[in-house]
């Protein structure tokens, strides 16, 4: 092994190998004075975020209204699908293995549509994160929305930041017990509504709603509501930002997807530092920057961080600190945007003296459009596939035991299990025909008597079902057949067709 000292680079900087000669004795015992035992665990520092108003707060209100509205309202939307299918617009019918979404009905064999949706969600995450940073975390994540809702409940019962801090420290007197009781009851009601709305997606909402209160619903419904009530109460009411900081993998994944051209919430330290009060800055304008160190950005933060320390895992980029800082800057008559949505690249350029650019210009870059293109093409491809998919399908499986059957008159019979799929919400007549068999070949089924054996048969497939038909195909004595085709035609104006080739086994073939 080379002498570490020879790893000197020409420019005089040391390689990592330069650290090796340091370890000649136990450096800790030798060099380090005895230290206090480090603290391995710490109590959560409660976040009492202050009320704020501004464009981002109003946007958060809007997103909360829309997302909660969708969540609680969707199961109640009715959608007429005729007499053979449920009339709920969005329904995950696990018992019958159907997924209804307005005009779209998905069968289990089409689960790739759901996989496609998940892929779209994944690429959508790339798109949103590379363009506007952790916007999902800041506005739309259920954890964020419910935490926000619960923080409004806190504010409603206990007052704003200072009052809540005081109440937290106050001893447990009846008034505090009453307030806490009322607040936690409200948490519980919201949590139960959350769990209650969830189950409505899996059954007819009005029926289940009534059954739930008359204790006639399935035990699974009560269990689901109980679990979701518990998790909402616990995660939204008490864990809050700790879910983002300690539990959730997304902040880690999203951090890996950000680059210097992604929009993030940043404190422009080149403008803000050195921090000082307005008075101090008036005395020494050269010494102080724009930040008046009022800590409003910290006070309004729903995760309790100081954005001026830079990008960090706790920042969900909700923009409330921008609202707070802009108000303060307006009061002290300084330009807005000391904390702002900006890219790292733009921050550096501005620090070097470049003019400010509107944030939306950061979106105009190839990466955004490539993600958008991929995301959009998957969506268009899925819509195309949905629009053109066949609502009729035939699958054939020949009986393997016995492979053929000799009949009294010397003719040879093969048996097949046919699956006729009717994805329309109405019963349909379908014709099954034999193609490629010797003349005289006939078939009958388990429902059609052998007296009525013929080369084509008509069966009725119930609405929205797959009908299993056992078909017996007979070729006359002395004839042989190899492979042939079952042809299916729907006897309605759509005249949808499907066919499947299968084999005919003759005596002596095996």
């Amino acid at each position: 092994m080379a002498n570490p000292d020879q790893l000197e680079r020409p420019d005089g900087k040391r390689d990592w190998g330069g650290a090796l000669p340091q370890v000649e004795a136990d450096p800790i015992v030798k060099a380090r004075p005895p230290q206090p035992t480090p603290k391995l665990y710490e109590k959560r520092k409660a976040v009492h975020n202050k009320r704020i108003d501004g464009p981002f707060r109003r946007f958060k209100w809007l997103v909360m209204l829309v997302t909660l509205g969708i969540y609680y309202g969707t199961p109640w939307i009715r959608w007429d699908r005729g007499p053979y299918a449920p009339d709920q617009a969005v329904l995950i019918d696990l018992a019958n293995r159907r997924f209804y979404m307005f005009d779209i009905e998905i069968w289990p064999h089409e689960f790739y549509f759901v996989a496609g949706l998940l892929i779209m969600a994944g690429i959508g995450l790339f798109l949103v994160t590379s363009a506007v940073g952790r916007a999902w975390c800041g506005y739309a994540c259920p954890q964020t929305v419910w935490t926000d809702l619960f923080q409004h409940v806190d504010r409603f019962f206990d007052g704003d930041r200072n009052a809540r801090i005081r109440l937290d420290k106050a001893p447990w007197r009846p008034s505090k017990i009453a307030r806490r009781g009322a607040k936690w009851t409200t948490y519980l009601i919201i949590s139960m509504l959350t769990g209650g709305a969830w189950i409505l997606y899996f059954a007819d909402a009005p029926t289940l709603f009534v059954d739930f209160f008359t204790l006639e619903a399935d035990p699974v419904a009560y269990m689901t509501v109980a679990v979701l009530t518990g998790t909402t109460f616990w995660l939204g009411g008490f864990m809050r930002e700790q879910v983002c900081i300690y539990m959730c993998p997304w902040p880690r994944i999203q951090a890996a997807m950000l680059d210097e051209k992604s929009l993030i919430v940043t404190y422009k330290d080149w403008r803000g530092e050195k921090r000082g009060s307005v008075k101090k800055a008036a005395k020494n304008p050269e010494l102080y920057g724009d930040c008046v160190d009022c800590l409003q950005c910290v006070a309004v933060c729903p995760t309790g961080i100081d954005i001026r320390e830079g990008q960090q895992i706790g920042c969900i980029t909700c923009g409330l600190c921008i609202d707070a800082c802009d108000r303060v800057m307006a009061e002290v008559d300084r330009p807005r945007g000391l904390i702002d949505y900006a890219t790292m690249e733009q921050c550096e350029a501005e620090a070097a003296g470049a003019p400010a650019k509107p944030a939306w210009k950061a979106l105009l870059r190839p990466r955004t459009f490539i993600y958008l293109g991929i995301w959009g093409s998957i969506g268009v491809a899925m819509l195309f596939a949905l629009g053109t998919r066949a609502h009729t399908e035939l699958t054939v499986s020949p009986d393997r035991n016995p492979p053929y059957m000799l009949m009294k008159d010397g003719s040879v019979r093969n048996s097949y299990t046919l699956r006729l799929r009717n994805m329309e919400a109405r019963p349909r007549d379908m014709e099954i025909a034999l193609a490629g068999l010797p003349a005289g070949a006939v078939m009958w089924t388990d429902q059609i008597a052998s007296d009525d054996a013929a080369a084509t048969q008509t069966v009725t497939v119930p609405a929205d079902e797959t009908r299993v038909v056992r078909a017996y195909v007979v070729i006359p004595k002395g004839e042989r057949a190899e492979s042939f085709t079952f042809e299916l035609t729907s006897l309605d104006e759509q005249a949808e067709r499907d066919s499947e080739e299968t084999t005919f086994t003759n005596p002596g073939d095996q």
């Binding site: 800790i28 109590k43 959560r44 009986d399 016995p402 008159d409 010397g410 052998s450 007296d451």
Partner: protein
């Protein structure tokens, strides 16, 4: 770092976090404290494990694991689930028991359940001889149940009777029984050959002779009929079709004339309950060769030919719908 070892500072300057105090080759570990609730969660899982060990089988001992206070076993759970399934099936069984086998087809759902139940019972009790596909074994003389040829009748009631009482079964007084006499020593070699040719000619497999026809009429037609159509009333097989229980080669037929083999099927009335037998009959009937119920007065007719014609005319209109 190497120039200025952080000997006196306990704080990492860039992050403001204190060090734990461990150092490896100049790399030090920051102390980012875990949240306190995480610790409590850890203790809670330990407590849960302790409770679980007491309640459920846990510690492996020499012969078996500790039993647990709740007394739970996987076998116990299985038997509980099995008896729950029995209870769930009971109403279907009762409905099948209460319905005449010929009337089952009026309720397609009930018929389907009967066929499924029969298929399960078939796998357990019948495949040993008749095979998993119910195709039988020619070399042993176990008949094929899929085709349209029946020795004793292929209607639901016929099959049910055969299942209940068996064929040549000592355990039942009402068993289906018939014996073909052995013609060993009765015919000379030429006569046997003529007879074999005639029997094969009945289904068009070869040319017969007048001598063979003469022998057949005298010795065989009483049971098998002049045209070889057989007689189900006495279980005499049809000789004029393409299906042969013991094979259609001249040697097989010759052997059957000289020293006939007689298969035995057990009756199942003492092993299986009537509902299972009924379900088995519907399953066998559904295999593609089931026949319609013969009108009662025809079945009692002595004229075997009429019986056969009537049965085969209605074959297929077999009440499977």
């Amino acid at each position: 770092m190497s120039e200025k070892p952080r000997q006196n500072s306990n704080i990492d300057e860039p992050t403001g976090t204190e060090f734990v105090g461990h150092e490896w080759d100049g790399i030090q570990e920051l102390n980012t404290p875990l949240p306190r609730w995480w610790l409590w969660t850890f203790y809670a899982t330990i407590a849960w494990a302790a409770v679980y060990v007491v309640l459920y089988p846990a510690w492996p001992m020499v012969n078996q694991a500790t039993e647990g206070v709740l007394g739970w076993t996987s076998r116990g759970q299985l038997s509980k689930e099995m008896s729950a399934a029995d209870v769930a099936r009971r109403s279907t069984f009762e409905r099948i028991a209460a319905t005449d086998i010929t009337k089952l087809s009026a309720d397609p759902e009930l018929l389907n359940q009967a066929i499924s139940g029969g298929a399960a019972a078939f796998r357990q009790h019948c495949v040993q001889c008749h095979g998993a596909g119910a195709a039988g074994y020619e070399q042993y003389g176990y008949p094929n149940l899929n085709d349209d040829d029946w020795l004793w009748g292929g209607s639901l009631t016929d099959i049910q009777y055969t299942l209940t009482h068996g064929i040549r079964w000592e355990g039942s007084d009402e068993t289906r029984v018939t014996y073909m006499p052995a013609f060993e020593g009765v015919f000379n070699d030429g006569q046997v050959n003529a007879l074999v040719s005639h029997v094969r000619s009945l289904s068009g497999e070869t040319q017969g002779s007048a001598a063979g026809a003469q022998l057949f009429d005298t010795n065989c037609a009483a049971c098998h009929g002049t045209d070889g159509a057989g007689d189900r009333a006495m279980g005499a097989p049809a000789l004029n079709d393409a299906i042969w229980l013991y094979g259609d080669s001249p040697a097989s037929i010759r052997r059957q004339i000289l020293a006939p083999r007689h298969g035995v099927m057990p009756g199942w009335s003492d092993k299986l309950d009537p509902v299972t037998i009924k379900m088995l009959a519907t399953y066998v009937h559904s295999r593609g060769g089931g026949e319609a119920e013969a009108p009662v007065e025809v079945e009692n007719e002595a004229d075997a030919e009429t019986d056969n014609v009537a049965a085969s005319a209605e074959a297929g209109d077999d009440g499977q719908s």
